[in-house]
Amino acid sequence: MELRINQKAYQVEVDADTPLLWVIRDDLGMTGTKYGCGLAQCGACSVLVDGNVVRACVTPVAAVAGREITTIEAIEADDVGKRVVAAWVEHQVAQCGYCQSGQVMAATALLKHTPAPTTAQIDAAMVNLCRCGTYNAIHTAMDDLAKQERA
């Protein structure tokens, strides 16, 4: 099966129903994407598939064969992703950091679809869980990114 991840083609020998997250982490060694709950509830495993945020722990790998997958490793190669990471650094969002790769993917997906989201749109889209409680910092960084776009 051929997967396109971060603009590169990978050949993988896995069962069709293997979760994409296992392939990314275990078979391909890209461990920036995290395993959280395994039930699509927390968002730590978020990646982009054709620009949309997807939870890799519940995505059968066969369902994304041939589609463009982006993981945290290559997020700065994306213009929007680069701005998000810069804002995250600027506002020092991360504490333990475990959920942050997923948070950055969710933020990037939101800004790709809605360049200048309102507060309500940010609340509605940024639903990944964070045990450190960095929600306020995330929100501030997102507000800042939206403001930059409006300016």
């Binding site: 129903d17 039930l39 699509a40 509830q41 997807v54 519940v58 059968p60 369902a63 639903v127």
Partner: protein, 445 residues
């Protein structure tokens, strides 16, 4: 004068009454005839034993007669009846508490007629109104399996919790007289062998109707074969809605092809649905072990049962979701869409679509509520546990939120199941809470 006349009249009346009482006593305690009366099974051919094991798979005996972590077929499953709770019994060949002392004829009377040795009637939680259709050959094989293929276990039987006088068993004989058929399956001459094999499995050992056929006031299945339109027309049971298996476009198998039915029963999933609820144990223990020919026969038979457009409504058609500001829409996007898709189409065959799903089209919302509260059980297909499972949202979403998200799900993408009431969610939440004082316990199946 009057007294003498009264005494004479009473005397004349007493005689027929006594005769009637005698007949009744005989009728309700008699041991019905068995074709195996003269047959003494002493040796068991290994081929017959393994054939019997297959019949036990078809009949899913293990679903009720075993408990997780206990010896197979040692009984114990708690079941609700209208009168009180009963427990499935030990059917291992233990001669004391099990059925080790049963002759083939005794075994036959229990399985096909619901009568234990001595004339004691079984409760129809044992699906003998379906098992009566079993062929003599299959009963013989099943007996061989239970005598030689099952390890004896001395697990004692749990007495039923039905109070006197309701615990008297003899009235069941009258129930049987009215509701339980007495004939084994007879092939329909107008139908081919495949159809007849399917009808045999569905009506007989498979006892599909125990869950999928609605029941009447006396807890009787309203139809036991295709001659009655309620047969397999869908029923509410154990907090789940067992959908129609007829050709209903929305709530039945109308949109399923025969190969898709086979795929569902063999692998637990197809492009329309993934097994969940009570079907999980039927799949894990029974249908996946059926031979491909038998599954094809079941599919052929089920596809021959006509739907009822009046009950089922206009056929479902997919409609893209419009912009929706209901709270359920946002809940859906954040809680459900990563698996079931923003478009409701799921990721077939792993995550089922909700667009066009039975649980989104049936009036009864029980299945949708139940699986949202409690998630799905583990599906084990060919020894491999499933990679994806519906999580339980019991602790994460309130009754109100579950009602909102299900209302959205059941009224989007062309779905017509309609609104879900938070009170119904609350009720089912209570009944399915293991710590509750009124938990759902399993019914007849």
């Amino acid at each position: 004068m009057n007294t003498r006349r009264f005494a004479r009249t009473a005397g004349w009346l007493a005689l027929p009454c006594l005769i009637a009482a005698g007949l009744l006593a005989w009728y309700v305690t008699r041991e019905p005839a068995s074709p195996f009366e003269q047959e003494q099974a002493t040796t068991f051919d290994p081929a017959l034993v393994s054939r019997g094991e297959y019949v036990a798979r078809l009949g899913d005996c293990v679903a009720c007669h075993s408990l997780a972590g206990k010896a197979p077929f040692a009984g114990g499953l708690e079941m609700a009846t209208p009168l009180g709770t009963i427990h499935a019994t030990n059917i291992t060949p233990d001669p004391g508490v099990g059925i080790g002392a049963y002759s083939l004829a005794d075994f036959d009377r229990a399985v096909r007629q619901g009568v234990a040795p001595g004339g004691r009637r079984l409760y129809p939680a044992m699906p003998y109104p379906s098992y009566v259709k079993l062929s003599d050959d299959d009963v013989r094989a099943l007996y061989a399996f239970f005598m030689k293929g099952v390890q004896p276990a001395s697990e004692p039987n749990i007495p039923s919790a039905i109070p006197w006088p309701l615990n008297m068993r003899w009235p069941i004989a009258l129930w049987n007289g009215v509701f339980a058929p007495t004939a084994t399956y007879a092939a329909k001459p107008g139908q081919d062998a495949l159809w007849n094999r399917g009808a045999y499995i569905v009506q007989g050992p498979g006892h599909c109707g125990s869950c999928h056929t609605p029941r009447g006031l006396a807890f009787n299945e309203k139809a036991l074969d295709e001659t009655g339109t309620p047969f397999l027309a869908g029923a509410l049971l154990d907090g789940w809605y067992a959908p129609s298996l007829r050709q209903d476009q929305n709530t039945g198998l109308g949109r399923w092809s025969e190969p898709q039915i086979v795929q569902f029963l063999k692998t637990g999933r197809n492009p329309h649905a993934v097994v969940y609820g009570s079907m999980t144990e039927a799949f894990n223990n029974s249908t996946q072990f059926m031979a491909d020919d038998d599954l094809a026969a079941i599919a052929r038979y089920l596809k021959s049962l006509p739907g009822d457009p009046q009950r089922d409504g206009a056929p479902w058609q997919y409609q893209a979701a419009a912009t929706d500001t209901r709270p359920g829409a946002h809940l859906y996007a954040t809680r459900c869409a990563s698996c079931h898709g923003l478009d409701g189409k799921g990721q077939p065959d792993w995550m089922p679509p909700l667009a066009g799903a039975t649980s989104a089209l049936a009036k009864e919302a029980a299945s949708a509520i139940n699986i949202t509260l409690n998630g799905s059980q583990r599906i084990v297909a060919a020894g491999v546990p499933d990679a994806y499972r519906m999580p339980a949202f019991r602790e994460q979403l309130s009754d109100q939120e579950i009602a909102q998200v299900l209302t959205y799900m059941r009224s989007t993408w062309g779905n017509t199941g309609g609104a879900v009431d938070a009170r119904d969610v609350n009720k089912l939440r209570g009944h399915t809470d293991p710590a509750s004082s009124s938990p759902i316990i399993l019914h007849m199946r």
